[in-house]
């Protein structure tokens, strides 16, 4: 693949005026640029969402604290949750999917480049709409100016009676708009994976990254659409006087819960499957071994996709659904631990006997393995309905899902950032800063979320803005908040590393990791057309075949 020798006009772009270059970014339909737009946009919101989390934790650092008012506290946890799920993790995952899938399957772009751009801008404006509520939503005096109904916005909190002004409308519309963007991107990923693969890349030879994102996209299509429908119903209730969730007119508040969690639980897998995808690419490369049990990994992924559609009501054990429904959702929730466990064993087997290189991406992935296991175990605990009756809506639950999202997803995401940064920017990151970031964040994470389980077990409910002293929660909350500052320092090192390396890092070259998937066969950063000649592949590790013509993989697959 001789793309390095071809001069591409964008190398002269530096000399053009700033307005021209900005215009190019705004009107771009190139999957790599859109990918980077998604990622940068998500990093911006990561900082905002992180500041909100810090405010929450400062408020809870000691009993009877009055750092923020109860009203502001409600807005903070609502905005934190909504921002992190919809405007940080989803966009950043879409960004990586956008950037990498065409490169990994040997295509020149996504199936629908313009739909891709449309989806990005829908997501982007959705986020702006949410934050515009800060200035635009003060409909009535004392009605609040940012959404304060919690990220799952249970009825009847969202009805006109209890949510005056327009803050809930901004929340609804932001999610509706960004939901269209998500569905658009998901359609694009499905069509790209099915229709754009290079010759020889059968589904069974596709990198696991593409497979997992393909299943993720399928889940987005099936899961975000119900959320869209529920948001439309909420808008009908709020603007047209409908009664979907109006208990005064015979409507049901519980059906909102069902509709929300039909979206909300598959959403967890929408977020975690790409994290699995990162781990499945990074761990083999830094263990110098092919992935263990490729076909089982694919099977487990598809199984997770299916089972995740039937576990939503484990969020609702405390509602009182009756023994039959409870039993069903207990069993289905426990069942999903099986394919997930298979994955963990496969990653361990990949590492086993490998020549492990402890580079920053690998460090994050190893931490992920351990932390995700713990997150899964607390998940199995909570899946038992009687246990959940005791601890539902407590800090134990908060600790559990942050273990999944931070300990699992964010850690692999950081790994992905370091792993693909050389490809995206053409420069190496600073390994020293990377390792510093890892340890700061690792220590901060464990200080915060390990110790958060304990006040939960001691009965501390989530979403309280303050608490009485002497309940045994004080010390734990102090430790939890101290951990936040370590995490914040880690994030600052991370952002500093990205910026410094972008301008000062040494050239990375085409293939700094001696990796095996197609994105490492083209220059860093790749030219707009990706591949001057569309590659033909014969195995799951096409670059291994190129580097080792004496012992190619296709002989064994």
């Amino acid at each position: 693949m001789s793309t390095d020798s071809i001069a591409w006009p964008s190398t002269t772009a530096e000399s053009r005026p700033l307005v021209d270059r900005l215009h190019e970014w705004i009107t771009t339909v190139d999957h790599k640029r859109l990918g980077i737009l998604y990622i940068v946009y998500a990093l911006l919101f990561l900082v905002i969402g992180g500041i909100e989390a810090t405010v929450i934790r400062i408020q809870l650092i000691r009993p009877h604290n009055d750092f923020v008012s109860p009203q502001v506290f409600n807005r903070m946890f609502t905005m934190h949750g909504t921002t992190m799920i919809f405007f940080v993790v989803m966009p950043v995952l879409f960004g990586f999917a956008n950037y990498l899938i065409p490169l990994m399957i040997g295509a020149r772009d996504m199936s629908f480049p313009r739909l891709n751009a449309f989806s990005f801008w829908m997501t982007a404006f959705g986020g702006l709409l949410l934050y515009f509520s800060l200035v635009g939503a003060n409909g009535l005096y004392g009605a609040g100016n940012a959404p304060d109904v919690g990220w799952f916005a249970y009825a009847p909190l969202t009805s006109r009676t209890f949510s005056l002004g327009h803050s809930t409308d901004f929340w609804t519309l932001a999610l509706l708009v960004s939901g269209f963007g998500s569905i658009g991107t998901a359609i694009n990923i499905v069509a790209t994976v099915l229709c754009m693969r290079c010759p020889g890349m059968t589904l069974a030879k596709m990198p696991l990254f593409a497979w997992l994102n393909f299943v993720m996209a399928g889940l987005v299509i099936l899961a975000v659409s119900p959320l869209t429908a529920a948001q439309i119903m909420l808008l009908v209730d709020r603007y047209l006087g409908g009664h979907f969730f109006d208990t005064q007119a015979g409507g049901s508040a519980v059906i909102w819960m069902h509709f929300f969690w039909i979206f909300g639980h598959p959403e967890v897998y929408v977020l975690v499957l790409p994290a699995f995808a990162f781990a499945s690419e990074i761990i083999p490369v830094f263990s110098r071994k092919p992935i263990f049990g490729y076909s089982v990994m694919v099977g487990a992924t598809v199984a997770i996709g299916f089972i995740s559609m039937s576990v939503w009501a484990h969020h609702m054990f405390t509602v009182g659904m009756g023994p039959n429904a409870n039993t069903f959702f207990v069993l289905s929730t426990m069942a999903i631990a099986v394919p997930t466990g298979i994955k963990i064993f496969n990653w361990l087997a990949t590492i086993w006997g490998g020549k492990i290189e402890f580079k920053t991406p690998m460090l994050f992935c190893i931490a992920f393995l351990f932390q995700f296991l713990v997150a899964g175990l607390t998940g199995v605990m909570l899946s038992a309905a009687p246990f959940d009756w005791q601890l539902g809506n407590s800090y134990f639950v908060v600790a559990h899902f942050h273990y999944v999202i931070v300990g699992g997803i964010l850690f692999t995401l950081f790994g992905a950032f370091y792993y693909w940064f050389p490809k995206m920017s053409g420069r190496m990151y600073s390994e020293t800063l990377g390792i510093l970031h890892f340890w700061l964040f690792f220590i901060g994470f464990h200080l915060t979320f390990d110790f958060m389980h304990i006040p939960g077990l001691l009965g501390m409910p989530r979403r309280i803005y303050t608490y009485e002293p002497g309940r045994g929660w004080d010390t734990w909350n102090l430790i939890v908040t101290i951990g936040v500052f370590f995490q914040a320092a880690g994030i600052l090192v991370f952002l500093g590393n990205l910026l410094w390396s972008y301008f000062r890092g040494k050239a990375a070259g085409t293939d700094p990791w001696d990796a095996w998937t197609l994105e490492w066969s083209t220059s860093s950063p790749p030219p707009a057309y990706n591949f001057s000649v569309i590659p033909t592949v014969h195995s799951r590790r096409p670059l291994w075949d190129v580097k080792h013509p004496d012992d190619p993989d296709w002989k064994y697959e």
Binding site: G200, G242, H243, G250, I262, T536
Partner: protein, 198 residues
């Protein structure tokens, strides 16, 4: 893969992938079907739960004629797409405009029904749960008919200026998939609203 060959494997002789338009439309239809499912579930869940009238069996009349119109438009659009594949643009245009006429008739039917319900029976979206779920579900479907008609009309305009040719048959097929979906959803909505819900 033939592992007995020498160092380099033979290049793949055939490499056929599904058409992206068709796959994209099927994915979109899946997403839309999920949205409709939620509305249908809400409708069924709230059947008979309105606290006050009017109730479906007093005010709903089964729109058999308009249903036949919409369903037969699936046949005409199929005939149109088939004609275009045979390069007979003229019969394509005729069948295509028939589809538009049938779709528009259906919309007219919905409009008159809603007019009667609102002005004669006093049922609006805020009257009771029946009103809320009925107008939402039928309205969501009607909205999809409107979007479909707009697409059909755009194609019709291109046909009239002579821009539609045989080479566009593939794209017309993709658009007709959407229209078939809109028709199929009506079968579900019809069953739920006028058969089960009444």
């Amino acid at each position: 893969m033939n592992t007995t060959s020498t160092t380099l494997p033979r290049p793949e002789l055939e490499w056929e992938l599904p058409a992206r338009g068709r796959v994209g439309m099927c994915a979109l239809i899946t997403a839309e079907a999920a949205i409709f499912t939620i509305f249908v579930v809400a409708y069924l869940f709230y059947v008979g739960k309105s606290l006050r009238g009017p109730v479906p069996k007093d005010v709903l009349r089964v729109p058999i004629f308009y249903t036949i119109c919409l369903l037969s438009s699936s046949l005409t659009i199929h005939a149109a797409a088939k004609a275009l594949r045979r390069a007979s643009v003229r019969s394509f245009g005729i069948m295509w405009s028939a589809t538009i006429a049938l779709g528009a008739t259906f919309l007219y039917g919905t409009a008159t029904e809603w007019h009667r319900l609102i002005y004669h029976d006093g049922l609006t979206i805020s009257t009771n749960l029946f009103g809320t779920t009925y107008y939402s579900l039928v309205g969501l479907h009607g909205f999809h008919v409107v979007v479909g008609l707009m697409c059909l009309c755009a194609v019709m305009a291109f046909t009239l200026v002579g821009a539609v040719k045989q080479e566009h048959a593939e794209r017309i097929d993709v658009l007709s998939l959407y229209w078939h979906f809109v028709d199929a959803v009506w079968i579900v909505v019809f069953t739920v609203v006028y058969v089960i819900g009444r």
